[in-house]
Each structure stands twice: as structure tokens, then as C-alpha cells.
Amino acid sequence: MNLLVAQAQQIEAPEIHYGAIAPVLIVLGAACISVLLEALLPKHQRWAVQLVLSLLTLVGATGALILYAVSERPEQGVATLAGTVAVDSPSLFLWATLLVLAFGSVLLIADRSVEPGGAFVAQAAIRPGTIQDRAQATKTGMQTEVFPLTLFALGGMMTFVASNDLLTMFIALEVMSLPLYLLCGLARRRRLLSQEAAVKYFLLGAFASAFFLYGVALLYGYAGSVKLSSIAAAAAGTDRSDTLLFAGFGLLVVGLLFKAAVGPFHAWTPDVYQGAPTPVTAFMAACTKVAAFGGILRVITVAFENTQWEWRGVLYGVAVVSMVIGAVLGLTQTDVKRMIAYSSVAHAGFLLIGSIALVPDGEGVSATMFYLLAYGFTTIAAFGIVSLVRNSDGEATHLSQWAGLAKRSPIVAGVFTFLLLALAGIPLTSGFIGKFVVFSAAIEAGLTPLVVIALVASAVAAFFYLRVIVLMYFSDPAPDGPTVSVPGAFTTIAITLGAVVTLVLGLWPTFVLDWAGTGTFLS
């Protein structure tokens, strides 16, 4: 007994900087409350209450983040919760990005004006194709569990980009992925596609996390700890076997690249993007990309910077493959959601270029974070537009149905054209500035050949964006073509937010660039 007491006194509770991690706590706490509300409230009240709670949470978390960011805080950041979570400048930047992007996504998710009842199924347990299913397609209710699921996914993403050891990173990876698997399967229309997307995403995602985890185990064997800084210290100068280090790094990176949808680990991307409900696709395309690349940046900057000459060639090759796959297969697509999915694979290649441009002074990190922010807003707005073009069957995503859209709805076609130009990287849009900063960081880091390949890939990719623009403006609309729904306030706000940020960052990027470059990862 005395022995136990003596031991209990030796264990000190870790110090927690509540101010620093308040945004994550708010999001996860609200997610738990949201689950409770789901159980306690009558059905007709849930949508409104959940929506208000989610939006308040995002605003509150952003407020807490701003309060912390402007307060007196250590320049290089703090490691809290026994060193498992690092709140430094990149974490704060990525958190702010995630919160604002999630705000746009929640607005798209909550919208009920475009489709009566919203994009989500009224009752997921009803089998598709039955009489009850046809009845529920016309009901106005929706499965309001999507709100807590979105908040949990967001909490996981925020933890993921700030996690300072690999175990925390793995748990955060699962907390962000598991809700997304479910969200993918909840579409109101085309439920077979939606369920298929969920199964594919789930099986491949679980497969990839197993690889990630085996990498973590091997690195634990190598360094005796899963802290990123301990791995860096162990790799800095020992006579330990490199086999464990590089096998561990390889497996870990496979898991990360899968989440970031970098080719050749992209196989799930087009299917899931197409099958999932469009607001969820927007959420995944914007926020998951930010989270996954935030994690990649942290892991390779903090833990593997010393060994970069060994692994840089591999990621170099992966970036080339990703850009080529995205650009070339994007050309052959006939579905607009799949086309944006392949475009996201190509963009993942560009982002990876920024991530591996670590020398001489780590400008790659701030460039990549700027690119993530810019790309996230453009994508959310683009998927918002996709959800507006509909026929009696739901969304009309086949490209042939978009022919002559400018004649039916000049505004929607105009905004979509602007967003496609931003994705292609035309000047005066944020896409151009993003590509510019990433490529100049890469040239400084001595990756000029890679930048040449990237420029060729963006030229090829520009072709399929321009093809859609030509289709919208220079062909005649089919008589039985889709109509463009007039969006309600939520979708309008989300699209406007995305488009305005895309424009503003194209004209005055300095503010965000400075902010992205304020600090480095805590090591």
C-alpha cells in the first residue's frame, strides 16, 4: 500500500495550456454536446439547433484562436499535454484555415433550399430502391447526425496538424477519418453510389492506416519513442540500423499520402468525390487536404529533416507521378466531380513539391500553407456551384449537361469560370499566387527540374478546365438540360466566401503570406 502511494506521488500530472488548445477543446466538446442533442431533442427541432450549435462552435473556436494568437505567447510555440500537442505558428495558421473552411462546409451541408430537405438522406437505415426510400426522398427531414460527425472530423483534423508525436497523430487520423467514412454514405439521391463510395473509402482508408501504424511501430523500435523530436535526435547521429528508420518512414508516408490523395495513392479519390454528397465532397476536398498536408509538413520538417537527402528522391518521384496522373487522367473525365477530383490529385502533387522544398530556409512550409488555404476556398466554392446545377434526378454532374450553361445562368457560369481559372493558376487569382510561391521556394531549394515538370502538368491541366469553360459558353444548351437552382442564403454565403477569398488572395496576397511565414514548427 505504501509502495503504491509512493509511486502515485512520483507521477506528475502534465501541465496543460488550456488557452492554447482551447479551439480544439471547443470543437470536440461541442461535438459531444451535439451527439447528446441528437438523443434528447424531438426530430423537428434538431436541424435548427444543430446548425446554430455548429456555427456558434466554429465562431467560438475561431474567437478563442484569435484571443490566443494576439496574446503574449512564446515565439516558437508551446508543447502541451506532456509534449504530445504542439501549438506553434503553423498550427495556428492551419487551425484558422480549417475553421474557416469548415464554416463554409457546414453552410453547404446545412443548405435546404437547393434540394428540399438538404443533400442528406432522411433516414439512412432505409434500403435504397424500396417504396419507403422513394417516399423519404421527398421528405424534408434529414439525418442531422451529419453535424456532430462534421465537428468530430474537424476536431480530428485540428489535432492532426498539431500533433507532436506519432501516436497522437494516429489517433487524430482515425478521429478525422471515421466520421468522413460515414458522411460519404449519407447522400439523399443516388444512394447506391454513395454507399459504394463509403465502402471503398472505408476499406482503403483502413488499409492505409494500417500501413501508417506499422510505420509508427518501426520508428518506435528505431528511436525508442514516438515523439517527432526524439526521432530526429535518434536519426541525427547513431549507429542504429537505418533499415528500421527508412522502412518506418516509407510506411508512415504511405499512410499520409493516402489521406492527402497524392498519386499513386489516389485510387479512392475520384470514386469517393463522385459518390459522396457534394457538401461532404467539398468538406473532404478542402479540409482533409489541409489536415493531411499539415501533418506531412510537420512530420518531414520536425522528424526527418536531417535525413532528407535519403528520402527526397522518393517524394520527388511521387510528386511527378501525382501531377502526371492528375493532369492526364483529368483530360479523359466526363463527370464534373470526377474532373475536380483528378484536379485535386494534380494539386496534391504541386503541394508535395512545396513540402519537400525544405532547404535553404524552409520557405516551402509557408508557401505550401498559403497554397492549402487558397486551394481550400476555391474548391469549396467550386463544389458549391456543382450542387446548384440540377435536373429532376438530382445533381447533373455529366459534363454534356453543362453545355450552354452560360445562356441559362450567366452568373453561375461566370463564377464557375473564375474558379476554374483559379484552379488552373491564371494570374489575378489565388491559384496563381499559390503556384508562384510554391514553385519559387522549390527553385531555391534546387528542385528546378521538378518545377519544369509541374509547369507542363499545369498547362495540361489547364486544358481540361478550359474545355469546361468552352462548353459552358460556346455550345447550345440541350432542350431537356438541367436547370440552375437559385441558392438560398447558406449556399450563397459559402460560394461567395470562397470566390471572394480566391479573388482577394489573387490581388493582395501579402497579408496572408506574411502570416503564413511568421514562424516555424516547434521542434
Partner: protein
Amino acid sequence: MTPTYYLLLSALLFSIGAVGVLVRRNAIVVFMCVELMLNAVNLTLVTFARINGSLDGQVMAFFVMVVAAAEVVVGLAIIMSIFRTRRSASVDDSSLLKY
């Protein structure tokens, strides 16, 4: 007996699981193979905890078990829903989304 054998065994189990995911058709069996991979990782973690003389690895094995359990809940729900729709759990039948 050196701990290396346990590492080899876990690598073997992990590979069996990975091959199983790639070749098996039934979604439930594919999922079981993923679980096999996770448990192979647990064996690796525990072995390294022994080699390194620290408890971290054993604690991580507990975390992995919890995550695996959560994954089962979500995964079986998804597989169930598609099974009820299609009356089949074969991953080859889910082929509406392609190219």
C-alpha cells in the same frame, strides 16, 4: 529466444493481412485482414517495448485496440448497409463508380 523472431512473425502476419486485403473478395474478410494487420502491429509494438525497455509500446498497443474497435463499429455499419441493399458483400459487385 531472441525478440527478433517476434518481429519476423509480426512482419509475416502483417504481410498475410496485406495480401489478404488485396486478393479476397468479401468485404467482411477484407476487413478482417485489416484487423490482422493492426494486430500484427500490436505484436511489433509490444516486442519493441521489450527490446527498448520502456512501457510506451505496450500503452500504444492499448490505443490501437481501442481504435480497431471503433473502426469495427463504423466499418460493419457501412458494410451492413451496402449488404442490405445489394444482398452481397462482395467488393467486386460495387462497381458503379469507375474510370
